[in-house]
Amino acid sequence: MSTSNAAVLMHAPTTREPSGRRRNRKRGSFGGGNPVVYAIALAVVALTLGPVLYGVLGGFRTNAQIAQDPSGLPSPWVLDNYVGVLTGASFWQYALNSTVIAVLTTTITVVFGVMAAYPLARYQFKGRETLFMVFVVGLLFPATVAIVPLFILITQNLQLGNTWMGVALPQAAFALPVTVVILRPFLAAIPKELEEAAQLDGTSRIGFFWRILLPLSGPGMVTVGVLAFVGSWNAYLLPLLLLQSDMKTLPLGVADFSSEHASDTAGVFAFTTLAMIPALVFFLAMQRRIVGGLTGAVKG
């Protein structure tokens, strides 16, 4: 998700409204779709979904069917490929690893991120902007640049090679800048009056943080959390270097399966399809957050 990092960078110093508040005005002008528009839309949908659907359907065919007629439909429909993947141990192991690593990454990112963003947003102190700039500059460094020393650090110095934490910690570290940069304006936008009222009631700043700020900044935390989760779930390079055998994540598993069973096209399709289901379900559930987070970041 390094791309979204840069997006926020450009608007980092400006404060913006929480992206949860969106205008829902109707687009009316030159309304109505005519047949040409529908035809083009249909073509776009076909090109977009075609490869995905082909993979899903390919999993229901046999290799012989695919070899005979690459563009045909399953006939008869075969469940063996999917059953084979689902009854094998490796798929579930990879799915477990992906889930644990993504949950760890997301948790660390959001907890550390919101903690750091709080003083940056609501405390007045010397060096505040400098501290903030540290994170802003961090947006410019993609994990790729540091990948080789990171590999040495984790496998040799920390002895965390081939562990869940060994992947989650650096992923969280690289997700922190974007998290802090998105969260700070969020926390800053919460009205000052609330804080004063809480103070009059004898609430400390930490009490204010726990009882008022955290609940109110829920949407912002969900946005950065979703970004961190999706980034971790889809990550390839860092897990590729750090994880072996039983500890692999789904993207690694998919890549392995594809090269080890290169001739078993139907099996590869079945494995790949099953591997994309969790991400798609998560996306459909969180769609508005993901799109809102990305567009909010770009529009500034």
Binding site: M10, R27, Y54, P70, V145, Y236, V254, L280, F283, K299
Partner: protein
């Protein structure tokens, strides 16, 4: 700035308490950041001036020789060129295409929400997963792409789309377009939501055609969104790794290497950590230069107008 002015309530000890709170809140994030971001980057720079094979102390200081080696290596120079082709190609293809689709979809029509969801699907899939599916589709003998081409009488390249050194990079670019076009469309559509309805109405009253409205109103107002998107696309293209690694592994005959695949090859496969360090510093410098140039030349006016917008909203808030 936005934070409430604190203190001044006559509590002297509260100053120390506040400092302690700040340290407490910021330390976890800073520690993580220092250990896993700052330290590795500093190490990369350090490694780049040594010859080091991954074990023993750093003793073999070679100065800038690793940089000379990398820059004189045709494979690396080619990979920089490949990165730049992907940068230019992605923007040149996705900008007009994404804009066209966004303009077409920016109207009341049946199934609009569903359409937007579908367009975004490829972007959500992992690059690896998209890559594996496309790898199968592009297979020379049983791949469906060649099958479809054959059925309309076209001939596919003999070694396959990914096996022909002249075609492989363009094939990768095509798959990347499929994967990332949805992002452009979604961002442009979001930008279009920001164009005030009144402008359309006024233009309509003045008798402007649909085409005139798009050209004179929509596209100019979408400028900032397009420029920001192009920046994102550029940074992403410079770091390209996953898709290439899955589709071609950098081959055939190094025709699709990128800077990232180069440094992974040198670092983890050949254990040339010094060379990899130099390559990653060069990658960073190239990315930085392009980012700064882009910011200075193209984005600067947006930032300036942004400041104005923010000021305006702030004033509004105060008056409210």
């Amino acid at each position: 700035m936005n934070s409430p002015a604190r203190g001044g309530r006559g509590r002297v000890t509260s100053a120390w308490r506040k400092r302690l709170e700040i340290v407490l809140f910021v330390t976890p994030a800073l520690a993580l950041f220092a250990l896993f971001v700052v330290w590795p980057i500093v190490t990369a720079v350090q490694l780049s001036v040594y010859r080091w094979k991954g074990f023993g102390p750093l003793v073999d200081f070679v100065g800038l020789r690793n940089y000379v080696t990398v820059l004189a290596d045709d494979v690396f120079v080619d990979s920089v060129v490949h990165n730049l082709i992907i940068v230019g190609g992605s923007i040149a293809i996705q900008l007009p295409l994404g804009l066209a689709i966004a303009l077409l979809l920016n109207r009341k029509m049946w199934g609009q929400g569903l359409l937007r969801t579908i367009i975004f699907v490829p972007y959500v899939l992992a690059e690896v997963i998209a890559g594996v599916v496309w790898f199968q589709l592009l297979q020379p003998e049983y791949g469906v792409i060649d099958g479809l081409l054959g059925s309309v009488g076209l001939e596919a390249p003999e070694q396959g789309w990914l096996g022909d050194p002249d075609l492989a990079l363009w094939t990768v670019l095509a798959v990347l377009t499929w994967k990332y076009l949805g992002l452009a469309v979604i961002l442009f559509l979001a930008g279009l939501q920001g164009v005030p309805e009144e402008l359309y109405e006024a233009a309509q009253l003045d008798g402007a055609s649909w085409w005139q409205v798009q050209r004179k109103i929509t596209v100019p107002l979408l400028g900032p969104t397009m420029r920001t998107w192009a920046f994102l696309s550029m940074i992403g293209s410079l770091q390209l790794f996953d898709m290439v690694w899955i589709l071609t592994g950098g081959g055939p005959a190094n025709s699709t290497t990128t800077m990232a695949t180069y440094l992974i090859n040198e670092g983890t496969r050949s254990q040339n950590f010094g060379i990899a360090g130099a390559a990653s510093v060069i990658l960073f410098v190239i990315a930085l230069i392009m980012a700064v140039l882009y910011q200075q030349l193209i984005l600067s006016r947006d930032t300036r107008s942004d400041v104005v917008t923010v000021k305006r909203t702030k004033t509004k808030k105060v008056t409210r």
